[in-house]
Amino acid sequence: MTPISLEAMAASVPNGALVALPPDNSLPSVALARALIRRGARDLKLLGVPVSGFATDLLIGAGCVVEVETSAVSLGEAGFAPRFTAALKEGRIAVRDATCPAIHTMLQAAEKGVPFMPLRGLIGSDILAHRPDWKVIANPFAAGEDPIVLLPALSPDVAAIHGVMADEEGNVWVGRRRELATLAHASKRVLATVERRVPGNMLEDERLAPGCISATYVEAIAVATRGAWPVALLDDYAFDAAHVAEYAAMARTEGGFRAYLDRHVLARQAAAE
């Protein structure tokens, strides 16, 4: 699989797409999020897998997003996500609240090719009350009364992930973050930025194969060094807490956020990300 440029990858994501983004500890492609901002993407729907972090706040602040489905949006130690909160308050985005295992379950249903999957819990939560797409049925295997929630399969249009490496075949190594494999299996398209390319076929290596997403599921690869920054990439690099704190402070105001974008996102257009 021949890598494409980050900008070409961003151009391939249509306005209005449902884009799945893992949270800050689980290999989101922040590089692709920045490239989507640079290309002026509009009307994106974002899915937090299962929660949302830095990249989601950035895309919302840049006006690329109309809807967020997630179990939480947070900058971790840096606190609440300021642009998410502002957009919600101003009615610029719709928010579909979920709960972490429900998002995993909806993706697992899509991975399995079944129309729904059950999940325990949830009953009595107002999340369920606000999700007409989630159904409660009587457990057909129970002797007595036993309500249980069924969640519909969810198949994102695009999964935007950042892997450690991609090989010549297009296999992408994500290590122990196996929920990304489920996400990849469930998604219509996987767009993966990676730190680096490696020769050969990682599936031939018993030690590397278990951490791979097979090229079967991968539509395109782009090399983006430090493409998860400012969030962490497994043991490659750590969370840049100082930068995220700086972001959180600047993004408290629209003007500060614009200054951040100018400095850290738009200025990269010429530079190789």
């Binding site: 949270p23 500890n25 689980s26 299962p50 929660v51 997630t70 179990s71 939480a72 949006v73 947070s74 971790g76 130690e77 609440f80 996500a81 998410f84 909160t85 919600l88 308050k89 928010v95 609240d97 979920a98 709960t99 972490c100 295992p101 429900a102 995993h104 697992q108 999940l119 325990r120 819990g121 949830l122 009953i123 009595g124 939560s125 107002d126 999340i127 369920l128 606000h130 007595g144 009364e145 036993d146 309500p147 249980i148 122990r176 973050r177 196996r178 929920e179 990304l180 494999a181 489920t182 962490a232 043991d235 750590a238």
Partner: protein
């Protein structure tokens, strides 16, 4: 060195974890934003109790090999005995609200969101609710919206409820049979009256309520030594602030 409030609360949480009247806590999961519960768990471990700790956001040696789904699967299997939850609001029926205030989905104050609470609270045999801020703003008569319910009708599959609610002012026990909290102990400087004044919900209290005990010297030594050692990587700011120690660069 005087006893820090965080140390007192950690020791109180450790005693709740070890409560012999509660179901056993063999495997405890602790989230990222919970340094005091994590300290309590490590204290239990360092006291020699064979509890397994899964620190969800531990970067090196993260316990999960199926990614973030595994915690929920583990809990679904009944393998997680105890979890900690907080809340932007917590009410007198132990309902928790991590969504926001005002109208759905948070037209007043928007909190981050419910995370896994709508599942974990029902599927874990024991939950300890923990929130340092103890004010009428947080501890309300009724939450504006329910992320996860404090109690459930008998027909609903549920493994357990809140065991207790620990705050910066006191320890409450939760009684699921009557869906009410009872004041168990007040931290030094607090009284039944001061707690009532700071609490938006009604609760039960005996005539005299004991003070939350000080951590013992042994507990303090463990907290400041081996517990802090374990926590330096994951909670560097907490360790610096509470224990005055920094992670070697």
């Amino acid at each position: 060195m005087s006893i820090r409030p965080e140390e007192r609360v950690a020791a109180a949480l450790a005693r709740l974890i070890l409560d012999p009247s509660a179901p056993p806590a063999r495997h405890i999961a602790v989230g990222a934003a919970s340094p005091i519960p994590a300290a309590a768990c490590w204290l239990v471990r360092k006291q020699g109790h064979p509890v397994r700790l899964s620190l969800l956001h531990k970067r090196s040696g993260n316990p999960f090999t199926e990614g973030s789904r595994e915690l929920f699967d583990l809990t679904g299997q009944g393998r997680i005995d105890l979890f900690f939850l907080g809340g932007g609001q917590i009410d007198g029926q132990a309902n928790i609200n991590l969504v926001g205030t005002g109208e759905w989905p948070g037209t007043g104050v928007r909190f981050p969101g419910s995370f896994g609470s709508a599942f974990m609270y029902l599927m874990t045999p024991r939950t300890i609710l923990f929130r340092e801020e103890h004010s009428p703003r947080v501890l309300v008569q009724q939450v504006d919206m329910i992320s996860a319910p404090g109690v459930s009708p008998p027909a609903v599959f549920r493994r357990g409820t809140a065991q207790a609610l620990v705050t910066g002012r006191c320890v409450f026990r939760f009684h699921p049979d009557r869906a009410r909290f009872a004041l168990e102990s007040v931290h030094p400087g607090e009284s039944v009256e001061s707690v009532r004044a700071a609490t938006g919900f009604d609760f039960d209290a005996a005539g005299t309520v004991p003070e939350t005990p000080d951590p013992t010297d042994a507990e303090l030594a463990l907290l400041r030594g081996p517990v802090c050692d374990e926590m330096l990587e994951t909670y560097p700011e907490f360790c610096a602030r509470v224990f005055g120690r920094r992670h070697a660069a």
